[in-house]
Subunit: 275 residues, 2 copies
């Protein structure tokens, strides 16, 4: 079962329907993917999902209010983390790995802090700690990219996820083509209300007190492009420096979507790390 | 012609014989490799040399007083840079790329500053800027590793170049085996006098005034392991941040020898960068 043809399922989480997809063989410690700002199920790079699913059960889902999931998206990372934990528990899981990208990386940090026994290992990509440099600016960066996208006829991720070099822009087109591989049973679009709530949560995270990262003793793999315009790369250095048990992977000539641009290398690093 | 069977040649540089090896097809802009503390010709990873030589002429050499080269090793990075430039000019070259590893990365920075027109692109691995955090401590780190090596019967590079995890130590053994692939025409050993002069130069670099990195406008690829015990990784972040035209590559679960541990990925990144 690959990501391209994994059916979209739904589960009741405390009275709200959450949509998700499972890929890979069932395992004791599945890897839960935590999505980014504006993302629905179809925004995950199939190469990363299928790559990790080669050795692990992978579960991707829409958090509350996102895509096909019901309810209203909360306006704090802490509430998003509680919703994610409720979803994980609703699946009957008692131990999981997390892969959080961008906003999902914020959520992963809170889950690791608040539910340490639920978590084995954590991958945090394109993200940063609470109070991290430039993180509260993500809304303005998004707005600027939407304007550029409108003016140029390109997808905003050309500006947000990839470097503006030839290499970066070729990688952007390849990534966007991968997101379109799945033909049927695609997820619902994200709503403007949800984006607004996510931006509120991200702004509060960026303005928040520094996380107590020294309390997260799980093994963590931190990954990013070397010039992330959404979550400035210095935040990845900070995560790796302040987390007691962290590894760091930085990809050259890459931005927020570095793990997608370098998906063969990143998948290998993720598999090595999760082993 | 691969690194394993490239003959060791010699050239007169202002009255002193410098030894070198050439690999790959002749090209207009060869890549000059600048070696690390204690290194002779046989300390370069054949996979990295041959990997870069797949698309470029690669020239490795012993700087003054090192291995089979004559003369006395100077006690400053600036003098080493002048010797390297004299070697490059003696070969009749007017434009080169540089790949400097550790001490060689210091030398590369000085060459790029003092002879900007001689240089096209620069790769700096396992290195850092003048005055960089912890760089003047390299001698003590070396001494500690020599003691551990003596006590454990392992090569010092197990401690200096690779992380102490299972992955890191397997990579260390594989790297050391690669260094032994060449059977004949091996280089002379390094002398204690040369190591002493190199340590003096490194100490002065580490205590030196911060380099004027903003003056280096060449494209630079900075690479390192995420936990370099010889040239702390924060120095690679600093190089990438302060150099006006830099890319950064950081390898997880890796130390000073990250580019050797991840040689397939690093070679690909280097080829992309040099194209």
């Amino acid at each position: 079962m690959s990501f391209e043809n994994a059916p979209t399922k739904a589960i009741d989480v405390d009275g709200t329907s959450f949509v998700y997809r499972e890929i890979g063989e069932k395992s004791d410690v599945p890897v839960i993917f935590l999505h980014h700002l504006t993302a629905v199920l179809d925004d995950w790079d199939p190469r990363v999902v299928d790559g990790v699913a080669a050795e692990h059960q992978v579960i991707i889902f829409d958090n509350r209010g996102v895509g096909g999931s019901g309810g209203a998206t909360p306006t704090s990372v802490e509430e998003m983390a509680r919703d994610a934990v409720a979803f994980i528990r609703a699946l009957g899981l008692s131990k999981v790995d997390l892969l959080g990208f961008s906003l999902g990386g914020f959520v992963a940090q809170v889950i690791a802090q608040e539910q340490p026994d639920l978590i084995r290992k954590v991958i945090i990509a394109g993200s940063g700690p609470a109070g991290g440099e430039g993180l509260s600016n993500m809304g303005a960066v998004l707005q600027d990219a939407l304007a550029k996208a409108g003016a140029s006829g390109k997808h905003p991720k050309h500006f947000l996820f990839f470097s503006q070099t030839d290499n970066g822009q070729v990688a952007a087109s390849a990534f966007l083509a991968r997101l379109n591989e799945r033909e049927g049973d695609r997820d619902a679009a994200i709503s403007n209300e949800t984006i607004g709530a996510q931006l509120t949560a991200i702004h509060a995270w960026g303005q928040g007190d520094p996380s107590k990262l020294s309390e997260i003793h799980h093994p963590v793999l931190v990954a990013n492009g070397d010039d992330d315009v959404m979550a400035p790369t210095i935040n990845s250095f900070e995560l790796a420096r302040r987390l007691p048990n962290a590894q760091l992977s930085i990809f050259p000539d890459a931005s927020h979507g570095g793990i997608f641009q370098y998906h063969p290398v990143f998948v290998q690093q993720a598999l090595d790390f999760l082993r």
